[in-house]
């Protein structure tokens, strides 16, 4: 009797532990996975238009092929729009797997914080979602375009952003980092921008540089090439290419250097009432492609290439900083944050005036490039006549 009693008792207690999670259980068949979504704003109606890309399966023969469907819905707030989707679909949508969110330019110009709040607050949505700004008129257009390789539009956008590690042409920002940048002092947000391009007859989505923000409002774009140098400043370049002309006179023959390792150290300095940023870029590259016949085993040529590359990287970095200072006046480099972290007492006095100071901030750029190797080949392919000269 006692034995049975104990068994019964522990059975009830154990099942208690296991069953309390089943209170609001959901069958997976009753859910559809959202892969990504786009948010537009309707000015006249003062409402949001939400377009979600939902995973779907297409039976072809015996195999199920993943495809996707778009669902649109309107609402007075973003969450209202999400719930309004229940008017359209039999299934509830599950947002925990969404990895891309696209904002339209209108929303970005008005301010992204109201829209971002839901992503941050909602328990289902994940904070490491990628945030993208649409360069087109609306955000939903991007989801409507054809895909290149994958069949899922949002997933492809997500993969494109993830592979920026070896291209360095867009800042990859996850939602929580974005919130930190928006809330932080002395730093402005910069997000990847995407637009529609025609590729081999298909209309598809392409990365088109960076969208610049001041506080939470979009104020402009820079293109992919400039983005690369911007990424150099904020030390987010992982791999990527540097294209170098053989000489200023000869623009035709280019040398491509592949970055293997690069590190940027930015330090604020304070000399007689002026803040100067010291940017130290240390890069290790390898020669990846050559259109010239130069022999880089020779010391002289190698150091010339090194010097040229350093000079051009330096001027590009300086140009982009200058451009941002002159045209946009927004501290996307986080220089202000560096000052406040390293010289807190100075920041207390100059912080409120930072917008003004940033515009006239002096920047020292030091570049150190070391050429590690030249891949498999020691010399490039040469015509016979040139070979004889050497």
């Amino acid at each position: 009797m006692k034995h049975v009693r104990r068994m019964l008792f522990s059975l009830i207690l154990i099942s208690n532990m296991l069953l309390c999670g089943c209170w609001n259980y959901h069958d997976i068949e009753k859910y559809s996975l959202v892969l990504g979504f786009a948010i537009d704003r309707n000015e006249q109606e003062n409402s949001y238009l939400l377009t979600a890309e939902v995973l779907d399966f297409e039976m072809s023969g015996k195999e199920a092929k993943p495809t996707s469907k778009l669902i649109e819905s309107k609402g007075n707030s973003v969450f209202d729009a999400i719930r309004n989707m229940l008017k359209l679909t039999e299934k509830r949508l599950y947002w925990g797997h969404a990895d891309t969110v696209i904002f339209s330019q209108d929303i970005a110009k008005e301010g992204i914080i109201p829209v971002l709040d839901l992503i941050f607050r909602d328990a289902e949505m994940r904070e490491e979602m990628h945030v993208v700004i649409s360069k087109e008129k609306t955000a939903k257009e991007l989801l409507e375009q054809q895909t290149m390789i994958s069949t899922l539009r949002s997933t492809e956008i997500d993969r494109i952003l993830n592979s920026q590690g070896s291209l360095a042409k867009a800042p990859v920002v996850e939602a929580y980092e974005l919130i930190n940048e928006l809330e932080g002092e002395g730093i402005s947000a910069a997000l990847p921008a995407m637009g529609i391009a025609t590729n081999a007859g298909k209309k598809t989505v392409e990365l088109m540089g960076t969208a610049l923000f001041k506080s939470d409002k979009l104020i402009g774009f820079i293109d992919s090439e400039e983005t690369k140098y911007f990424l150099f400043v904020i030390n987010k370049v992982n791999r990527g290419l540097l294209i170098q002309n053989e000489s200023p006179e000869n623009q035709m023959n280019k040398i491509t250097l592949e970055i293997f390792k690069t590190k940027t150290k930015t330090k604020p300095e304070y000399y007689d009432g002026k803040v100067v940023m010291d940017i130290d870029i240390k890069t290790e590259v390898a020669i990846a492609e050559m259109e010239t016949s130069m022999d880089y085993i020779k010391d002289v040529n190698r150091s010339k290439l090194k010097k040229d590359a350093e000079a051009s990287l330096k001027s590009s970095v300086k140009n982009i900083i200058k451009k941002i200072q002159d045209n946009y006046d927004t501290d996307i480099f986080g220089f202000g944050m560096l000052v406040s972290a390293n010289m807190p007492s100075l920041w207390d006095s100059i912080g409120p005036d930072w917008d003004h100071l940033f515009k006239k901030l002096d920047v020292n750029v030091n570049v150190d490039i070391s050429i590690r190797n030249s891949a498999l080949v020691s010399k490039s392919i040469r015509k016979e006549s040139i070979r004889k000269e050497n």
């Binding site: 208690n16 532990m17 490491e128 929580y176 010289m343």
Partner: protein, 359 residues
């Protein structure tokens, strides 16, 4: 009186889990901002004298728990009244811990489940453990702890690539006052909450090691809290950490290595469940010991169940919203002062005077 015995190791592990129990998820004090690690270190040093007081109390009366000591020192009536205060404190603390857990579960994963259900089902398990006695809790702790801390700490090196050192700068720029105020919060929650163990550690096998158990338990627990807090700040940055209710959960949530180590935040939730379980069980055990002592009931395990049910009730009604719960933390640090500092110190002083007079 039933005799229960726990080993030094079990005692230490219990203490560690008790200390990190609810603090690993709650972003308890946000005033210190990036200097939170200084606040924790200061709080640890602040708690050292109190730990000494607690263990001195226990070693002065070997084999007796706090309730017995109170009656011995203050006499029968006054002793019982003060004992009742401690019963209330541990009872209330247990209820708060249960409520924190149910809020956590509701906010992060089950928004539509009524909290009553979560509280009842975790509460029943705690009730079971407390009924089984401190020996069982101790043995269970010794079994789960080695797994638990590994799972908890492995997330720190894994999130290394997402850390930014700049988040912790500038050091000590915003005045010392918020840091001290934060340190005081950390002192009352969780370090000095170990006052509850004065009702438990009379069961330690080696009475001489009481202070050692107190010290190592709190220091190890404190070190883990320190590591996790610094991790949160480094990964998420100051602004997000202070905005969030449960920063640890979020910091682990951002972790993803390749495509295969991700969504590991469940480890935090699991460890939190373990912590809450231990903490609430120990509180319930302490409360029922006290009631048994006051009413002269021989077996405290016989009255665990009704007290446990009452504790679940209190957990259900104590707050009406999550916001209220986080607001309470500001009150708690003052509310806890008499239980954690004033009464133990006075008791020890009077006890010492009595000893002195006797000899």
């Amino acid at each position: 009186m039933e005799r229960e015995i726990i080993s030094t190791k079990q005692g230490t592990f219990m203490m560690v889990i008790f200390v990190i129990g609810s603090s690993i998820v709650l972003g308890s004090s946000v005033e210190a901002k990036q200097d939170i690690w200084i606040a924790i270190v200061v709080a640890l040093f602040m708690s050292l004298p109190m730990l000494f007081v607690y263990s001195k109390l226990l070693t002065s009366f070997p084999g007796k728990n706090l309730y017995y000591i109170l009656e011995e020192v203050f006499g029968k009536v006054a002793g019982k009244i003060i004992s009742l205060l401690y019963v209330w404190y541990s009872f209330h603390l247990g209820a708060l811990v249960l409520r924190n857990f149910s809020e956590f579960v509701q906010v992060i994963s089950l928004p539509e489940t009524p909290q009553t259900i979560i509280i009842i089902f975790l509460g029943l398990v705690c009730l079971w453990a407390a009924k089984a006695g401190i020996e069982i809790i101790g043995r269970w702790t010794a079994f789960i702890f080695p797994v638990g801390w590994f799972v908890l700490l492995i997330t720190i090196p894994l999130s290394m690539s997402k850390m930014h050192l700049i988040n912790i700068k500038p050091v000590l720029h915003n005045d010392l006052k918020p840091v001290l105020s934060s340190a005081f919060s950390f002192f009352t929650f969780p370090f000095a909450e170990t006052v509850i163990f004065t009702t438990v550690f009379n069961t330690l096998r080696n009475k001489k090691k009481t202070f050692k158990v107190y010290l190592s338990g709190t220091v190890v627990g404190g070190a883990i809290i320190l590591l996790l807090s610094v991790r949160n700040i480094l990964v998420l940055g100051v602004h997000i950490t202070t905005d969030l209710y449960f920063p640890s959960y979020m910091a682990v949530r951002t972790l993803s290595i390749g495509d295969f180590i991700q969504r590991t935040e469940i480890t935090v939730a699991t460890f939190y469940t373990i912590g809450v379980f231990i903490k609430a069980s120990v509180c319930l055990y302490a409360a029922s010991k006290g009631v048994a002592k006051i009413l002269n009931i021989e077996k405290s395990s016989q009255i665990v169940a009704p007290i446990g049910f009452l504790m679940m009730n209190l957990a259900c009604i104590v707050y009406s919203s999550t916001m209220e719960m986080f607001d309470w933390i500001n009150t708690y640090k003052y509310y806890a002062i008499p239980f954690q500092i004033i009464i133990p110190v006075i008791t020890l002083i009077i006890a010492k005077i009595k000893f002195y007079v006797k000899n």
